[in-house]
Amino acid sequence: MRALKSVSFDLQAGEVHALVGENGAGKSTLIKVLTGAVQADAGTILLDGETITGNSPQHSRSLGIAAVYQQPAIFPHLTVAENIALVNEPGRAAARVDWKTRLNTARELLKAVGAEIDPSREAGTLSMPEQQLVEIAKALGANVRVLILDEPTASLTEVETERLLGIVARLRGQGAGIIYISHRLDELSRIADRITVLRDGESVATRAAAETTSKQLISLMVGREMASVFPKRSVALGAPVLKVDRLVCGSADLQSATFEVRAGEILGIAGLVGSGRTQLAETLFGITPPDSGSVSVNGTAIYIKNPQQAIEAGLAYVPEDRRRHGIVGDLPVRANTTLAILDKLGNTTLLDQAAERTLASDWVTRLGIKTDGIDAPANSLSGGNQQKVAIARWLATNPKVLILDEPTQGIDVGAKAECHRIMCDLAERGLAIVMISSELAEVLGMSDRIAVMRKGEMVATIDRADATPDLILSHALGHGGPA
């Protein structure tokens, strides 16, 4: 998989240059290349006319390239001053620490970003926006020439956002070049000088911010024909199976979700990374029990506080990160297949090995799982086949509702097509499917209806016939108006 195919991009001193693009367009990878966290396969990076060779995180720092990520990378148990000093005091391991200078430097840098933070405070006690300001102060201390801000306002309130934009404007005035990544398009028109749109790992356009509307940006971000063909079949929909009404879970930042899924239907859930899609699935499945709202399966109200109850109620959840949450890598394929139905396998007290073998072999055939046999450990399989094993485990529970979280992320094209075929087969047999996906093409290609999440809330539900990439992205970004 290539995250970046071909990106051309220039940044001037005293400029704020915005980068926009869908999930997976290559923004993060571009930053990693610039900061030396990963190496580019081809192409050059020039700084003040000089080619950067042998880039590494240390090297890019010494050149004055600094990045502030969406999730602040602070050390929570060190003080603010220590956090700032860590990168800025070039290290002789045996050198004595000059605490006074360290505190004063930190104080000045914090003042420069307009933050009133005591530098001797433990960094872990700061709020998220404060931590972000510390990160920016840290970047400034390194005599930054290129400052990269990756969605700096994603977790900030309006007031904090205003302040941050002020700081960005001030830094620009001081001659720094700033790369600003954001999904909040309205911000960009205010702060950015130019905007470059990335799509599928390529830079597709660079525009002057003043002359570009949000609408134009969105169509540039989407702007493609459907890249692949999806095997979507039309299925006669049955009665509603899963009904969810105003589901709320504060601890998971799920504000509100209302939807229903009918038998044979595939409901796609779209939204930006962090919009609460996975949290919705985890709340439904009892991993983070809901605070309020109602859920019913086949007309029966259910109250789910843990995964066991969810399974009892006929829900199945194939989680996003299959290595961490899906398969149990050390166990053989057959054991993975039966893990969720251990107590229902064969007769009740003994683990019925014969029944397990039959069941596992059956699923291996039905889903076309490529494995050295049902006794091979699950982590010896390819990513796509591991995913099929994870799906098999949940299908073995004979669920009424199947929730798939990024079912085809990071698996190859062939396996992806097969996963899609399997989903269609299941829908045809009357299963209600909820599919969370960051890939717009997949959502559009596979779903009967598409629900869009933004900031923990389900903001729109769109029928397949009406769904367009622009419409979905508009809702996801918050430019869709009332739906």
């Binding site: 050390d330 251990l342 007290t349």
Partner: protein, 310 residues
């Protein structure tokens, strides 16, 4: 795991061959029986330890638990309780010690190495304080060898150990809960999402560990006419070594009891073998350490080779 077990089996075979050539009297029935009887209790503790380690945990308090259980058994018998009742009470006490560890780990979320390290010190020091280091002496004759002749008593010890080991080896393969222990140790989060009661499984494993340790303590005590308050010193290391040598991953999720049987067997013969070969017994621990290290290094090397080939 297979590689490690194979390497150990080869080492064991070599050792036994050496013994056959250099000191054939090692294989006399009486000697082998003595080795087996002496190590029966360690095998039982290692059985429990295998479950604990497969579940992704560790219990370093078994040596102290063993000592407390031994003293409890000795005291009860001396007070005139019949052996079956004594065994039952000791078993219950052991299960409670284990359950306490399980409670600390699952309910309070204390990492098992910390919780059981604390338990190890606590039980050992508590025992020292109560007994003042004194042995429980003058146990009734009805206790020794369970009131049987020595030959029959030894047979009973071996039979009981073998039965327990067999039962657990079978259960790990053929019961749901056995599978669940593997799943929890391999990937706790996946296990939880699959609807397994992860805390209950962890708790049960610790409780079983305590109960098995108590059984081992009773079976060991009947061999002597007194109970030492320092009983079980170093037992945790022996048990963990047997498990690791047997190919169970210290990180959990893989391995099994047959490997542990192999590991325990290797550890059991080293010391007597040295004696028979006329080598200073001080070498025992060094050789043990060398075997553990060698087995793991060998496994690493072959694994890396395997990865590259793939």
């Amino acid at each position: 795991m297979k590689q490690r077990a194979t390497a150990i089996a080869i080492f064991w075979a070599l050792l036994l061959t050496t013994m056959a050539l250099r000191a054939p009297s090692f294989f006399e029935f009486g000697n082998l029986r003595d080795i087996a009887v002496t190590n029966a209790s360690a095998l039982i503790v290692a059985t429990g330890m295998t479950l604990v380690i497969i579940a992704g945990e560790i219990d370093v308090s078994v040596g102290s638990q063993f000592a407390v259980a031994s003293v409890i058994a000795g005291t009860l018998v001396k007070a005139g309780l019949p052996l079956p009742l004594t065994a039952l009470i000791t078993l219950f006490a052991g299960a409670c010690f284990g359950a306490l560890n399980g409670f600390l780990v699952t309910t309070l979320g204390v990492p098992s190495i910390v919780a059981t390290l604390a338990a190890m010190a606590f039980w050992r020091e508590l025992l020292r304080w109560i007994t003042q280091g004194a042995w429980v002496q003058g146990l009734p004759a009805s206790f020794q060898w369970m009131g049987l002749s020595q030959a029959h008593g030894e047979l009973a010890i071996l039979a009981a150990s073998a039965a327990l080991f067999g039962a657990f080896a079978w259960a790990m393969r053929h019961l749901h809960c056995g599978r669940a222990v593997y799943a929890v140790g391999s990937n706790r989060e996946s296990a939880r999402l699959a609807g397994l009661p992860v805390p209950l499984i962890t708790f049960s494993v610790f409780t079983l560990m305590g109960a098995l340790t108590a059984v081992a303590a009773v079976l060991d005590s009947v061999r002597f006419s007194q109970v030492q308050s320092s009983a079980g010193a170093g037992l945790e290391l022996k048990a963990i070594s047997a498990v690791v040598i047997g190919g169970t991953a210290i990180t959990g999720g893989t391995g099994g009891l047959w490997g542990t049987l192999l590991g325990a067997s290797v550890l059991a013969v080293i010391a007597p073998a040295l004696t028979f070969l006329g080598i200073n017994a001080f070498w025992e621990k060094a050789i043990q350490g060398g075997i553990i290290l060698g087995a793991i290094v060998l496994e690493r090397v072959s694994k890396r080779g395997g990865r590259r080939a793939r």
